[in-house]
Amino acid sequence: MKNLIAFVLSVALGVLMVLSLTNNDWFAQFGYVDLADRVSQSYIDKDVTGNPGEIIFGITSNPENGAANIVTSIVVDYRSFDTLGEVTVLFISALGVALLLNSQDKNKRLALNFKPNFMLRVGSRALFAIILMTGVYVILHGHLTPGGGFPGGTMIASSILLLYLADDQFRTKVKGFKLLEGVAGSFYVIIGLLGLLLATYFLQNFLPTGTVGDLLSAGVIPIVYILIGLKVGSEIAGIIDNFLTEEEVSL
């Protein structure tokens, strides 16, 4: 009985799919697509000859997208929805690692049978600040210099990895990471919705773009990059913590 229902349902679904593909206005015949229906008209109208002029670092103000770094302007502005998906993929993989490696709440640090070097232990406490600040700098200047949220977040996570390697008693607050991750992810969506409200579409840049090359330019891009950096950093730090802890055996 169950099999029969499943069979009927899948056949019906297949028929619907085929019908919708063959005889539908949205899926035109091969070669007969009208791009104006599928892509926003403003992007089609734009061409090289309509360029208002050169973009000069530090002089040009209020361009369409204020980021001096072209990769950033594509990743976080034009294809920001894609980036939201990437961040979600990272979140899901972190969740999978957490599910696989520790199913309980109470975990203790994996005991290694060798002590860390003294110089490494003391030096990492000093170098930690430099590494972390460099990560923050990379995140905050994502729209001006090479870098951005993903490498900066990874550097923050690697500073925490350094502390884990250099001190065999060290534990971070995993709860704080989870909270930070959730807050950053939801703020990303909220910014997207604000773009939908204040401008026309999801994740649109709704702040003024400023002068190219200034710290406060490129509208919403730095904010999004800060959120991405926090999210990536906390996720990777959480993964590192998962790998270096073990379940507390309570007999």
Partner: protein, 160 residues
Amino acid sequence: MKYLATFIVLFVVYLFLAGFTVYELILGGIVSAALTVILVKYVNFSIDWQFPIKLVKFIFIYLPVFIWKLLLANLDVAKRVLSPKIPLNPGIVKIKTNLQGDFGKLALANSITLTPGTLSIDVEGDSLYIHTVDVKGKNEEENRERISEPFEKILGGIFK
């Protein structure tokens, strides 16, 4: 006091990386203050009212000695590497130090690594284990006099 030291370190690193404009100053201040509150447990920077004097001592007394020793070390390495038969008499020796603070010992160990023919392997309590290319001293005192004496005198004045 610990908060102030952490804040200063973070702020200076940020400013050196980002440059000295007004926006950077404001943003760096905010970010460093926020991070200071979070991180103060994990770092152990400390500061007191003598810090400027120590910094001046560090730059003008310690650094020239350090750079001179680093140059000598490299000439020593060059001499060893370029001679057709490499002269070696290696060993691991243990020397005592009088420095107390963790950073003082770290600075001493780092300086020893970068001076001619020595490489600090580990520090335990107040004894340093050092691999040296050429064991000359017969006992601990002689080794100490040869390896760590010049730095210990200077660092003792800076890190107590």
